[in-house]
Symmetry: C2
Subunit: 184 residues, 2 copies
DNA sequence: ATCTGCATGTAACACGTTACATGATTTT
DNA sequence: AAAATCATGTAACGTGTTACATGCAGAT
C-alpha cells in the first residue's frame, strides 16, 4: 500500500496531475520508488473511487488537458492511519535479484565473476550520481509547491540513506573482488 | 524470473523437495529472498511443465509423501542463460516502504519520528543476528548436499553484503536521529 | 527532420501475498 | 496440552511490468 500512500502524501503538498506525480516519484523519490504512468493512473482512479482524492479538469490550448488531483479530508485521515498501522518487520524484507546471482556466481569463471562485481560497482557509482540530481529536484519541489514546514529534512534523509547504501555497496564490491581474486 | 532461477540453481546442488527448497530460501538466502510455500509449489509445477525439472515420488510411512525434484539438462541450460541475459540496471531498482515513510515523516511529531528510526535500528540489529544463523545454515547445506566446489565463497559474500548494509543502515539511523533532534 | 516533453489511458501478463485446507509426528 | 515440523496444495487477491495507443508543441 506504499504507492497509494505515497500519492496521498505528495498531494498533501498541493494539487498535482498524474504526470506530475510520476515525475516526482521518478526524480525526488527515485532512489526507493519507481513508478510507471500506467500504474499511477490506475491508482488515481481507485483513489478517486474511494473518495480519497478528487480532481478538477483543466482545459489547455497548446497542451493536452489535465486532471488536477487534490486530497480530500478522507484521504488525509487515510494517510495519517498509514503511520499508525505500520509495522517495521514487514517493510524491511527485500528481494534482490543481484544477490541471487551472487549466490550462484560460482557458475561463472573467475574473471567473469570479477567483471560482474565490477559492473555492479559502476552501477552504484551512477546511483550516487543520480542522488545528486534528486537533491536538486527536492529543492525545486519545495519552492514550487511552497512547502512551508521542514519536510525537506526528511526528504534529504532518504537521499542520505541512499548515499550510505551505495558507499557501503562499493566497499563490499571491493571486498568481494579481493576474495574472488584470492580464490584458487 | 529470479525465483525460477533460484530454484534451478539450488537443484544443481542436489535433489530437493518443495519443502526443503522453501527451508533453504528462508534460512540461507533469507537476507535477500523470502518465499511462501504456495509460490514454491506453483513454480515447481511450472518448471515441471516446461521440462526444466522432473520429480521422483517417495512414499513415506511416518511422514507425508514427498516429491524429490531434480534439474534436467534443459533446466541447466536455462540456468546458464540466466547469467548471459542479465542486465545490471534492472536488478538494482528497489522499492522500500520504510523510506517512503521517512520521506513523509514530518507528519509525525519529533519524538515519534525519533522513535520510528529507533525501531528501524533495532530491526537492523535483529537482521544482523539472523545473518549469523544464515552463516550456520550455509555450512550445513554444503555438507548435507556434499557440495565439492567452492560455491560457499559466494554464499558467504551474500551474507557479507547483508552485514555491510545493516551496519551502514545503523550508522544512517544514528545520523538521522541526530538531525531530527537538532531540528526546531 | 527527429526527438523529447506533456498528458492521458487500456489490456494482458507476471509475480507475490493471504487465506484456506489437511493430518500425523515430534518437541517443548 | 500446545506448538512446531514435515509435506503437500488451491483460490482469490494485490501489486507491478510490458506493450500498446494517441497527438500536439517545442527544442535540437
Amino acid at each position: 500500500m506504499a504507492l497509494k500512500h505515497g500519492i496521498l502524501g505528495l498531494l498533501t503538498y498541493g494539487e498535482m496531475t498524474g504526470y506530475e506525480l510520476m515525475k516526482t516519484f521518478n526524480s525526488s523519490l527515485a532512489y526507493f520508488w519507481h513508478v510507471r504512468t500506467s500504474q499511477i493512473y490506475l491508482e488515481l482512479d481507485n483513489l478517486a473511487k474511494s473518495g480519497l482524492v478528487e480532481f478538477r479538469k483543466e482545459i489547455q490550448e497548446s497542451r493536452p488537458n489535465k486532471k488536477n488531483f487534490k486530497i480530500t479530508n478522507k484521504g488525509r485521515e487515510e494517510f495519517k492511519d498509514w503511520f499508525k498501522n505500520s509495522n517495521m518487520d514487514k517493510m524491511l524484507n527485500i528481494k534482490n535479484e543481484f544477490l541471487m546471482m551472487i549466490f550462484f556466481l560460482n557458475e561463472l569463471p573467475k574473471n567473469e565473476a570479477i567483471n560482474f562485481i565490477k559492473q555492479y560497482k559502476e552501477e552504484c557509482k551512477s546511483g550516487l550520481a543520480d542522488l545528486e540530481k534528486a537533491k536538486n529536484t527536492i529543492v525545486e519541489f519545495k519552492s514550487f509547491y511552497h512547502v512551508e514546514n521542514d519536510s525537506d529534512i526528511y526528504w534529504s534523509l532518504t537521499v542520505k540513506h541512499g548515499e550510505f547504501m551505495y558507499e557501503a555497496s562499493m566497499k563490499w564490491a571491493d571486498y568481494a573482488m579481493k576474495i574472488i581474486k584470492n580464490k584458487t
